[in-house]
């Protein structure tokens, strides 16, 4: 059978479908990079730029190519695209995972984590963007020329094809972000687009636009099998990637490092410890639980006491693969955050607003005041997180069923929108949101946001937020203190007069104490920990200070530290107030906050210069990412 000419309608339809799937590939690639790096604006811009550049290169190559425009040529391009597109998202995620695998299991442990190498690996994954863009660049010129062959009214046809191309592209981006991503996941969305591409090939084949030769039929079958195989494999492969990502907290790194590829893979495949991976429309929620689950620090010593029955079982929460808390150390964070402002300003709030904190741990702390706290409004933007906090047995145990208390009211809303629209008044506001690492989050640290928070506060009420400030340290360059200045300047611009920064002891130091109790020899201490231990110098200073009582027993690791990893908080009062470091016993059951620790908080020094030019606003957004978050080894 000889091939025939295509009608204009067929060409238009094909154009719309192929440009639809190309844009789905592009957005899926952008989404993969965003899920790996967390910075949407940068990677989305970069992906679209590289894609368009490659598209241009493809168009140029097509115009220069010696091969005449023909349906067999188009068929080949589409077939290649469905192969490349199907493998794109999974390929990018796998490349990143392969590097992580190498860093976790194969590299020598002494080598420092190479941020530059990691960045290079992630960047090199943009080869997919270039490949898909280049191949897509051939499509439209080919279709334009193929359409011009048959019809007499070619001029109008050209415009219609361009129109179909643009409409297909629009539909692709909309369908990806509104339908595909919420229903499937990133990998399956790109597979769906590849299947669509394959359908175009099938149509071209069966509608007799190309000769039906056996070679083409085999290639079609191969492409179909490839897509089906990837669809079947994508679940298990992503599960492996997840285990590989959490190898440190799962204790797999120390257990398996240097044991050879086959053994590590076998062990990973047989791994049964719970990693609950929950995909909500807003984010990925990962809950690691079980006896072997450790905080990032203890993970290093896992092989030594994995079978120790005295080791408590741990639970860790990660949101979008970022560490939130570990059950062994969360009390340090939440007790200090909740109670210190109440201690400093000597006022138990009647009405409380919690922004974020959908795990219910902060609410648990505030409910300890009994009837003195009359109501808590908790604003959380992910309904799935609240459901989990209500239903997950591990989380329920940790938050002591805080959400069953009638005093707690949950509002599902964006915090920015809530504080802008609300007409309620509160005695205290607690802000427990992710750090401003991307432009989506930085609006929750803007002067607009804080001004509205201040509006919701009663006079004399305090707002407390968790923010990783840079404490005073002679060795640090001045540039490191800039993020302190951004936050303080923004808070001043929002009208807060009294700003009290405070910090806790080092989280890792507490874990170090746990390691000591578990009998891990000092030679195994991380160099980082050794550095902290040199903080004994500071202790000597403290001892000479009148009023200082040396810590006893379990508190031997107690010291104010000057490490960037310390949990730090900022409390601000609406109106003038003088903080007093007097511990008032409200009769609460506290594990970490003691009179000594409250006293020690005043030794924290956080330098900052106010500068009206550094205010963070939605008109002038600034990212002020804490540096330790980018530490590869601690993820």
């Amino acid at each position: 059978m000889t091939p025939r000419q295509a009608s204009l309608r067929e060409v238009l339809f094909i154009t719309a479908v192929v440009s639809f799937s190309c844009l789905v590939y592009e957005t899926a690639i952008a989404a993969s990079f965003t899920s790996l790096t967390g910075d949407g604006v940068l990677w989305q811009s970069l992906t679209i730029a590289l894609y368009l550049a490659a598209l241009g290169a493809g168009t140029y190559a097509c115009s220069r190519s010696k091969t005449p425009a023909s349906w067999p040529f188009f068929f080949t391009i589409e077939l290649l695209l469905s192969f490349a597109g199907a493998a794109s998202a999974l390929g990018i995620l796998s490349l990143e995972s392969a590097y992580r695998f190498y860093a976790h299991f194969l590299r020598e442990p002494q080598e420092a984590p190479a941020a530059a190498a990691y960045a290079a690996v992630v960047l090199s994954a943009h080869g997919w963007t270039l490949l898909i863009g280049f191949l897509s660049g051939f499509e439209i010129p080919l279709l334009l020329r193929l359409c011009g062959e048959g019809d007499d009214d070619a001029g109008d046809g050209l415009h219609l094809i361009l129109g179909a191309n643009y409409m297909g592209a629009l539909a692709g981006t909309l369908a990806f972000s509104l339908i595909l991503l919420p229903c499937l996941d990133i990998v399956r969305s790109s597979l769906a687009a590849a299947a669509l591409n394959l359908c175009v090939c099938l149509y071209v084949f069966y509608a007799d636009l190309v000769e039906r030769v056996r070679k083409r039929a085999i290639l079609l079958g191969l492409a179909g099998a490839f897509i089906a195989a990837l669809a079947a494999l994508s679940g298990p492969v992503q599960k492996l990637q997840l285990l590989n990502f959490y190898a440190n907290p799962l204790g797999l790194t120390t257990e398996l490092r240097g044991q050879g590829l086959p053994r590590v893979l076998r062990r990973l495949c047989s791994y049964t410890t719970e990693v609950e991976h929950i995909r909500s429309p807003r984010q990925y929620i990962d809950i690691l639980s079980g006896r072997a689950v450790l905080s990032p620090f203890l993970a290093r010593f896992n092989s030594r006491f994995k079978d120790d029955p005295s080791l408590p079982s741990g639970l860790s929460l990660y949101l979008d693969r970022r560490f939130q808390f570990h059950s062994a150390s969360e009390a340090l964070y939440h007790e200090v955050m909740a109670h210190v402002p109440i201690q400093l300003f000597r006022r138990v709030p009647k009405t409380v607003l919690i922004l974020g904190g959908g795990d219910g741990l902060l609410a648990r702390e505030l409910l300890k005041y009994g009837p003195a706290v009359q109501s808590i409004v908790n604003v959380e933007f992910d309904p799935r997180m609240i459901e989990l906090a209500r239903s997950h047995p591990g989380l329920r145990r940790l938050n002591e069923n805080a959400y069953d208390d009638p005093r707690v009211r949950v509002v599902i809303d964006d915090a920015f929108r809530f504080v802008r629209g609300s007409r309620e008044r509160f005695d205290a506001v607690y802000i427990d949101l992710p750090y401003p690492t991307n432009y989506d989050l930085t609006r929750l640290y803007s002067v607009e946001f804080y001004t509205n928070v201040s509006r919701l506060l009663e006079d004399g009420g305090a707002v407390t937020m968790d923010f990783p400030l840079t404490p005073l340290d002679d060795k640090k360059p001045l540039e490191d203190y800039r993020k302190n200045s951004i936050l303080f300047s923004t808070l001043k611009a929002a009208g807060f007069q009294t700003i009290v920064p405070y910090g806790t002891e080092h989280r890792e130091l507490i874990e170090w104490a746990q390691a000591q109790r578990l009998g891990i020899p000092p030679s195994d201490y991380d160099p980082k920990i050794a550095k902290i231990l040199r903080g004994v110098e500071t202790q000597r200073f403290l001892r000479s200070h009148p009023g200082y009582r040396p810590p006893k027993g379990d508190d031997f690791y107690l010291m104010p530290n000057v490490e960037p990893e310390a949990e730090t908080f900022v409390s601000c009062v609406k109106g003038p107030a003088a903080p007093k470091f007097i511990f008032q016993d409200h009769g609460l059951r506290l594990y970490r906050l003691t009179p000594q620790r409250l006293f020690l908080l005043r030794f924290q020094r956080f330098p900052h210069d106010e500068d009206p030019g550094l205010v963070n606003s939605i008109f002038r957004p600034r990212l002020f990412e804490p540096e330790h978050l980018s530490d590869f080894a601690y993820q």
Binding site: L23, T27, A30, A31, T34, G40, V41, L42, Q44, S45, L46, I48, A49, L50, L52, A53, L55, G56, A57, T59, Y60, S63, H159, L162, G163, N165, Y166, M167, A169, L170, A171, G172, T173, L174, F176, S177, L178, D414, F416, R417, R420, N438, Y439, D440, R443, V447, E448, T451, N452, G613, S617, I618, F619, R620, P621, R622, L623
Partner: protein
């Protein structure tokens, strides 16, 4: 037209267009949240309206290419410079309208007003930008050797530059309002070049100077402008 100015013009114009769109996406994310959706929708609408603009442009075969291009540039300068500011202020205005007694509880009206306005600006800038490439390619075709495919390649290169400069330099370096003004100033300079060296048209030249003055004013008074915009945004 000589190849070098033509290529420069193409690169600058495509740079400006993509930066405008990304700035609009950023302003929408700032007011409405959910930046992944906003950026995707913006890119989709931009590509679609770019195509639509190119189609509209091909209807105007008789027009003087350079004058038409200069008109488009002047319009883009004004819209591009003010676009992000308009999105942010319109959001505040709609919020205020939503708090008045008549519209209270009618959240969807406010949302529809905001979304319609924001996407309208995106489409308008996309349409105007869509005029550029066909005009430049026709200018390329008219030159001594056919430069139309080279113009296309340079256009993609300009887009690449813009999409890199936006997240790495413009947004962290100068912020939304000044980035818009800077980019618009580039656009205005292109129009100025077209109107002084290639055509003399006093009326259009006046308009062009006025639009560049607007950009320069936005840059010089960026601090007071930002303060004023902020207080308008926060006023209830």
């Amino acid at each position: 037209m000589n190849p070098l100015p033509l290529f420069l013009l193409t690169a600058v114009l495509s740079f400006c267009s993509i930066v405008y769109e990304l700035l609009l996406a950023q302003s929408m994310s700032a007011t409405l949240g959910d930046s992944f959706l906003r950026y995707n929708v913006t890119i989709g609408l931009y590509l679609a309206s770019l195509g639509l603009g190119a189609m509209l442009c091909s209807r105007r075969r008789k027009a003087d290419l350079i004058v038409l291009l200069a008109d488009v540039e002047i319009a883009l300068t004004v819209l591009g410079a003010l676009g992000p500011l308009l999105i942010l202020l319109w959001d505040a205005a709609a919020f205020k309208a939503g708090t008045c007694a008549l519209l209270r509880g009618q959240e969807w009206i406010r949302r529809a007003l905001v979304l319609g306005f924001d996407h309208g600006i995106i489409i308008l800038i996309g349409l105007l930008s869509g005029f550029e490439l066909p005009l430049l390619m026709r200018l390329g075709k008219e030159s001594a050797s056919d430069l139309s495919s080279e113009v296309l390649a340079v256009d993609y290169f300009g887009t690449l530059l813009g999409a890199l400069a936006f997240p790495l330099l413009l947004l962290p370096g100068v912020g939304v309002l000044s980035a818009a003004a800077l980019t618009a100033l580039l656009n205005a300079l292109c129009a100025l070049y077209l109107l002084t060296f290639l055509r003399t048209d006093a009326r259009r030249l006046c308009l062009c100077c006025a639009s560049s003055a607007l950009c320069i004013a936005m840059l010089v008074c960026r601090e007071p402008l930002q303060r004023a915009a902020l207080s308008w945004y926060l006023q209830r």
